[in-house]
Amino acid sequence: MGSNRRQFLRIAGVTTLLGLGGGITLSASSYQPEEHSAREKEARLHAGRWGMVIDTRKFQTEEDFHRVIEACHSIHNVPRDEAKAKQEIKWIWADHFEHVFPGKENPFLAERVEQNEFLLLCNHCKNPPCVRVCPTQATYKREDGIVQMDFHRCIGCRYCMAGCPFGSRSFNFCDPGPYVKDKNPDFPVRMRGVVEKCLFCYERLEEGKQPACVEASNGGLIFGDLDDPDSHIRQVLREKYTIRRKVDLGTEPSVFYIV
């Protein structure tokens, strides 16, 4: 009995090993990833840290805001349907001073500041809490400072929405597809249960273009490399007094406002 049992175990062990080994060699031989042949686009714009200056003096009328918001939302397949408005999927939008810069309001604010709205979008923080809390690394920081999202990987836990102190993120409570009119066939839509936000038009930077909102802003938005002291954006920052949102939280926003 003893020797039988030993034999049985031996045979079982060897077959398992063979099976495993066979399985591994089979699956390894069928497909070889080809990263070596993948390259960046030649036109791609590079930066140490992308940033933006919003010249709020150039956003006065409703049309000024609408043009910029529409430019972004139309190419990124963000639902603009009235029926969907309640769920507020937004990448770039506008709000009043006291909501944009809480704690900075006072009872005697300049009329222009008090009555006007201000553009809002993801700040692509240098120290982004949304990235720190995302359990799946669906939200992560690229080398050029863009806080990127891999929609494939988002599990919809909404930790990032709790982590972001700027309300920059929107959650798809239902399938947004039917609410997107005139879909841009060059960009995906999102699905139910996924978070979305502004991605600084990474797909346009790749083609050597400026972000869509910047292009539509008639000079109201200045985009560039914050790490390059000779860049246009740094020149603007040197010359004009700018403020950022909620700096005391330490997230180091990369979006600056000329008020």
């Binding site: 069928s30 497909y31 990833p33 080809e34 990263e35 042949s37 993948a38 390259r39 960046e40 686009k41 791609r44 397949n77 690229r142 990127q148 891999d150 929609f151 494939h152 597809g177 879909k183 066939p185 060059d186 960009f187 995906p188 839509v189 999102r190 699905m191 996924v194 990474y202 790749e206």
Partner: protein, 130 residues
């Protein structure tokens, strides 16, 4: 050996059940590859058909990570030609219809990839079906 008869009968039944899929499909029409609508205005894919048939899912998976994570989006095909690594902008630029191309095989093989939960198929979008 005790109960040899019963054991043998049991074994036979077991083997019959185990091989059920094989003898059940005996005499039935064999699997026929569904007919796909091929693009009219382009002749070659990024790789040959056989390779694509076998590997397109892994290739797309690879593309996804390389593009989103590494920002590399130019692919050099077997003929040395360069392509944008994009399901929507490259694959479905030729294979414009999801229904007449992708779905045909996926349906007959009973697989349901969730690519189109987000990615849009040009022809279906143009017809207002997606």
């Amino acid at each position: 050996m005790y109960d040899a008869g019963k054991i043998l009968i049991g074994l036979v039944i077991f083997l019959l059940l185990l091989t059920f899929p094989f003898w059940y499909s005996l005499g039935q029409a064999s699997y026929e590859s569904p007919e796909l609508q091929l693009p009219e205005d382009s002749q070659e894919c990024i790789r040959d058909t056989e390779w694509m048939r076998k590997n397109h899912m892994q290739l797309l998976d690879d593309w996804r990570d390389t593009v989103v994570r590494e920002g590399k989006s130019v692919y050099t095909g077997s003929e040395g030609k360069q392509y944008d690594m994009s399901l929507q902008k490259t694959c479905m630029d030729c294979h414009t219809s999801k229904k007449k191309f992708c779905d045909r095989c996926h349906n007959s093989a009973s697989v349901e990839p969730y690519c189109w939960d987000c990615h849009v198929a040009p022809e279906e979008v143009a017809n207002g079906q997606q």
